[in-house]
Symmetry: C2
Subunit: 186 residues, 2 copies
DNA sequence: TTTACTTTTTGATATAGGTCAAAAGGAAAC
DNA sequence: GTTTCCTTTTGACCTATATCAAAAAGTAAA
């Protein structure tokens, strides 16, 4: 599955692909485990082979705000922390027992330097994430609670029923109560 | 100035840099001119040597919503349209008489294929934009009108006084009236 | 310097969604 | 099958911001 996720962007040869995959490590991570805390520099990029993760941050009052969900078949990381080596603004958490393929920053840098095509792959991946974030921004900034929930259903069709209401509500920028009421009236 | 903006990310040699710059074209664009309409595929990436641009879209009711401002020293494009060759969701407009350096998609692809470091440059540029968008998202999603305006002042210190109130208000996801009142009470 | 046009401010009122509190429903633990 | 704990729903009330409308200020054109 990670193979498809990579080849979708760039046609690596079988040899190249094997080399790349050999830099990833398979990890079994349990529910509720933190991959990263706020303030740490994120030194791994993960691929969610199976499971769900999320990134979130804490508001001053201590409330958690979900920033993104990462379902099966997606790369998961605190992207700007990973690539720019800044302290992460986010926590990264696994929400279901999951299988990940993870690569360290050091190994990623080796691959980026070794393969021109690897740079291209990461460029295209970054641009795809960029698109998705913009899509969310437009949904969240100008739409009603109902429309925001509809956006959620299309962006994360599978995830919407696997994570708790509170996480989704904060992802969409509304309270749990509002989401509950919104859902009820269809 | 475009030189600095490129070297900031990747240390190209003088020869490489000259080659790259030779693919850009200097353009003088007048106030209120559109660089791109919604639905078109964006086939240019611009660098704002001097001036201001913005991207915006129309809501169903026809209201303009500013999506981003591009001030001096920044690259300007409907990024996902340019790189993924999708129809753009946005209009791109110049707000002041401006000087741009522009490169076509075809030429950009040549450079990306020719130089490994060019891929790296665009990757880093993409990630930087990604970071900025996330920053906006956090500001817009959970902050009060006052806090959003403060975010604007830090993200675009120079621009805040050069563009009309209505553009800024829609950028921040509030009405013009609210922004006017917010500004007044400091 | 008057006229016309655009942008910003001010005022009055309406509303979506927030807040606080408690009840109901589910899932796991004993 | 209770008990405990956590999540979701419901209810009553409140507030920030939207909306609608008009006045004021600013800018450009004649």
């Amino acid at each position: 599955m990670i193979t498809d996720a990579i080849l979708k962007f760039v046609p690596f040869s079988p040899d190249e692909l094997n080399d790349i995959l050999s830099h990833f490590e398979k990890e079994y991570v349990q529910k509720n485990q933190l991959l990263l805390k706020e303030g740490q520099v994120c030194n791994k990029l993960h691929f969610v082979e199976q499971g769900i993760g999320r990134s979130y941050y804490l508001k001053k009052e201590g409330k958690e705000v979900t920033q993104w969900f990462f379902g099966d078949g997606n790369f998961m990381s605190s992207v700007d922390s990973f690539f720019q080596e800044n302290p992460s603004f986010y926590y990264m958490e696994i929400l279901e027992d999951s299988i990940l393929y993870s690569i360290t920053k050091v190994k990623m840098d080796l691959l980026l330097a070794k393969y021109h095509k690897m740079e291209k792959f990461i460029r295209l991946l970054s641009i795809e994430m960029f698109s998705k974030i913009i899509h969310k921004l437009n949904a969240v900034q100008f739409q009603t609670a109902k429309e925001r929930y509809d956006y959620m259903l299309t962006e994360f069709p599978d995830i919407s029923h696997r994570v708790s209401l509170g996480y989704i509500a904060s992802y969409l920028g509304m309270t749990q109560e509002t989401l509950s009421r919104t859902r009820k009236n269809d």
